[in-house]
Symmetry: C2
Subunit: 132 residues, 2 copies
DNA sequence: GCGTTTTTGACAATCATTATCGTTGCCACG
DNA sequence: CGTGGCAACGATAATGATTGTCAAAAACGC
């Protein structure tokens, strides 16, 4: 029996995924990460990669982005809340913080009586290198 | 020869989809809309519904939202740029405008040299009726 | 070490969206 | 008014990422 159900175990696969994310720059899809782990010789199932990523996302350790195109992209981000400026062409990403936006969103939501507020914001553009 | 390549033809199906969206409140998935058209006796293919919605979205006549859950939701919105405050529980939606956010996003993007800027913003919360 | 419980992982299932491709109907021009 | 080109249509198949399943393996507490 026991009382708490939060028994998160420390497994080789979980470490591998987490470590890989630590070294990567930019966003990668679950399938990308799975392929990379395979190349390194890590034996990890695709299912596990998905589960691990979801777990990390729930724990707030990584960010998830759903670009128009279907695939979910994951990335280890600096902690705290922030948003992303993504290049349409090359995918280059810049983290941006917008305290003003945060408070604006909260304020608007509360004005309408909405509670437990969260939001998603992505900015898309063409980066300097790709403009030419 | 010719001047504009916008040879958009005026078809029964396009009108039907557009008209239906005009009467609907809130967001609906492509498959929803297709089912409703069928119920009305309109004979429209699912493929065409998707194509038409994409066309309308490109033309800026409707809004697309990609909620966590996979389905794309479409809605005829008041013209102009705005965002949505969506209830997690019941889906009730409020349109909100945030000029400050718009300009902030543009400014941030330009500071980083990004051109041709757009953005997506959704606010999620629990509406008053669902809080209890 | 031992038993319990979580986690893993191969595979199948799901399901929205997209591609295909022959057919249909709109539109413009003769 | 008739005709031809060309885009739109639509049924079906294909795609492809994500989720469910469940027996086997591994971790943790003792």
């Amino acid at each position: 029996m026991s009382e708490n159900g939060a028994a998160v175990r420390n497994t080789r696969q979980r470490s591998a995924v987490s470590a890989l994310l630590g070294e990567m720059e930019g966003f990668h899809s679950a399938q990308d990460l799975h392929a990379m782990l395979r190349q390194r010789g890590e034996r990890v199932g695709l299912t596990t990669v998905y589960r691990t990523l979801q777990g990390l996302a729930d724990a707030g350790e990584i960010d998830v982005m759903r670009p128009p195109g279907g695939e979910h992209l994951y990335r280890r981000c600096s902690e705290g809340h922030h948003h992303h400026l993504v290049c349409r062409a090359c995918g280059r990403t810049v983290e941006v913080a917008g305290p003003a936006v945060e408070s604006w969103a909260d304020r608007v939501a509360e004005q309408h009586g909405y509670a437990d507020v969260s939001h998603t914001l992505e900015i898309f553009g063409t980066c300097p290198a790709c403009v030419r």
